[in-house]
Symmetry: C2
Subunit: 403 residues, 2 copies
């Protein structure tokens, strides 16, 4: 019996995203999935986690199983602050840090505390689908600015800002993933980071800087990939990171760093979202950082993901026609394919899925889905070497069948 | 340097609740806190959890550490559906169930999918502060209906519904905790459950039925406390429950049962909140239910909480003047004190805190804070027997000092 529920305006407008539909294929048995953004399940640090838990005394286990303070487990907050200073070169003076239920919650909370109906949010074109969904579900309108090989087109960004300003509109914030971007796999140059910092200062444009992949670089040191936030705290920058790629996603833990007043607002909003993030996960995360398990894990995983990326690039060269351009990520999980005119990502998806290989077409990552049909995102993070070889061969054949 | 952040309208209006301020005292060292609503930390089933984790093979640990489907870990969903049918007598036909990040997220999601700015939500007077905060943070206005000894005053409710209807307004839903209510500790009678079900049908009034304490009854069987939802699915009822009181709060796990279309909307909204709830916690919760650990735990905890409640009632009789009325809960965590005219809860709070005993005054639980200053909530769940004796003595002395 239909009951004629009266949903909110936003909820009435919300539709299941196409990527969710596609993901149904990705979880079918025998499918080789390059569609998701999951970390490598073979190498999760489960033995470390088990060792940690088995060493807890009554005091620690009681904290882990109880409600905790909304901003997070205090010893973990302290460790993360030190890590932000040491590894990400962020000046913590006047800044606060709090724990969120995954990086996704930090994105949602930023949307929640800033966005009123019809406010404009600037995103990279293409951008992370989970972030765009959070902005839309808080009533935002999205303005996309094209991503180039070295990050967002900043000349175009200034045009957009001037145009909006002329219309009396000020975007509430700009969302960027500077390192090993999802979905495109590109990295913002140092030069553009400085320019974007200056733009943020000049226009008082809040930057939401999402940096979950920063520790998974393939060459050099983390200093090559320091965040925009490391350039100073004069510009209004909210910095996000996550445990999903440096430990595992299974505890839903992320964190945010920003001016104290912004974090205070976000913590207040978090109270009614879930009261606090998992204490159990936070106490584990504390021990995992404190005992140095994280360093061994990251050293191993940088090699694992680099190996997978190199293999996928080699197979792309072998099986995919030269007219298809692909990015060569310096870290992270993703390679992006740019199809030549005349090819449709959706058609290639449908062809590949017949041979049990799943990818994601570009359209859900774009504010303009027509652009997205020229793109395909491939994830190597979650696949074995064998699956990468087989998968790229199938995708190559699917592409060739349309040329 | 202040940066003149432009927050959303709702975020600008939101203030830290008084209870949060009070809770700062509660976490000071040497304080006996009867202020929080935390479960007993001495008896958490940590040994069960450790045993569960130590038995996991690679497949299970990989699922536990990975992202999971947004609605939840499928085997856990199946177990909970069976539990809802068997223990709560809910007809699952046409109904869906999904996992949330604590019961709090289920409340927030219901608010998110139903509430537009200025929509009216009906709450019990007094009501759970976390729920009221979630409604307000989605733009709602609250209409309180007085709680009697056997549940909400339903004659008054019908008056409110008729009055609103006359003004062309329809409340989006009514929020109730029928069993061992937070904060008042009262239980809705069977008769009122039937009447409220009929009102829901008659007015097509959505009921948000929050039932986190149902397994912690002190006498009889769970059949004494079956939910309104067990009366049928013709009325639009959304049923919520949580692992916080039947296992622990530390994994942030709850669940909701409602018509499929409502759950579909809520799952879609959850995607942008946190993508999924903790897989680690969900796989533990599955084993905890499957292995029957939950039955042993609940059998023990019903006795533990009943003992604490009886001790607190005895000490109230001993130390607190007869002119102060107190509820006698049939389960759950809370006793509510009704002060006689001339006494102020806030003054008693301030006096007791000098002697290092923390309580919560009633005002944050009320839509009208003046009523609340006549009430005090006492929690026995989190205190040792010694703390209960000492705490009630101090509160009794504080009260007497004002008479």
């Amino acid at each position: 019996m239909s009951k004629n529920y009266q949903y909110s305006g936003i909820s009435s407008r919300m539709k299941a995203s196409k990527i969710r539909e596609l993901m149904k294929y990705a979880s079918m048995p025998d499918i080789i999935s390059m569609a998701g953004g999951n970390p490598d399940p073979v190498n999760f640090p489960f033995d470390d986690v088990k060792e940690i838990i088995n060493k807890w005394d009554k005091t620690k286990s009681s904290i882990a199983m109880q409600y905790g303070p909304t901003p997070g487990y205090p010893p973990l907050l302290e460790l993360l602050k030190h890590r932000m200073i040491k590894n990400r070169k962020i000046d913590m003076k006047g800044q606060s840090l709090f724990i969120t239920t995954g990086g996704q919650q930090a994105i949602f909370l930023t949307a929640k505390i800033f966005i009123d109906e019809s406010d404009i949010i600037i995103v990279e074109e293409p951008s992370f689908i989970g972030a765009m969904a959070a902005f839309l579900s808080n009533g935002a309108k999205l303005a996309g600015v094209r991503l180039e090989d070295d990050g967002m087109d900043l000349a175009k960004l200034e045009d957009v800002l001037k145009k909006l300003s002329g219309e009396g509109k000020n975007p509430k914030f700009l969302y960027t993933i500077p390192n090993f971007q999802n979905p495109a796999g590109v990295t913002m140059s140092q030069n553009k980071r400085k320019k974007l910092y200056d733009i943020s200062l000049k226009y008082q444009l809040v930057i939401l800087e999402d940096d979950p992949y920063c520790d998974l670089y393939f060459t050099g040191s983390p200093d090559k990939y320091l965040p925009i936030k490391s350039l100073g705290n004069d510009a209004p920058i909210i910095y996000l990171n996550s445990f999903s790629k440096i430990m595992c996603p299974g505890f839903r833990l992320g964190w945010a760093v920003a001016d104290e007043e912004v974090i205070d607002k976000a913590v207040l909003a978090k109270q009614s979202l879930d009261a606090c993030s998992s204490s159990f996960g936070q106490v584990i995360a504390y021990d995992y950082l404190k005992n140095g398990f994280i360093d061994n894990y990251l050293e191993k995983m940088r090699k694992v993901y680099k190996g997978k990326k190199n293999l996928m690039k080699q197979k792309i060269k072998e099986y995919i026609p030269d007219s298809v351009k692909s990015t060569d990520p310096e870290g992270g999980f993703f390679i992006y394919l740019y199809l030549p005119d005349g090819l449709s990502a959706e058609k290639i998806f449908k062809k590949a899925i017949e041979d049990k290989v799943a990818v994601v077409t570009g359209d859900p990552f774009h504010t303009d889905p027509n652009i997205g049909d020229k793109h395909i995102r491939l994830s190597y993070s979650n696949s074995t070497d064998e699956q990468i070889c087989k998968g790229i061969e199938v995708i190559g054949n699917a592409i060739k069948s349309f040329i």
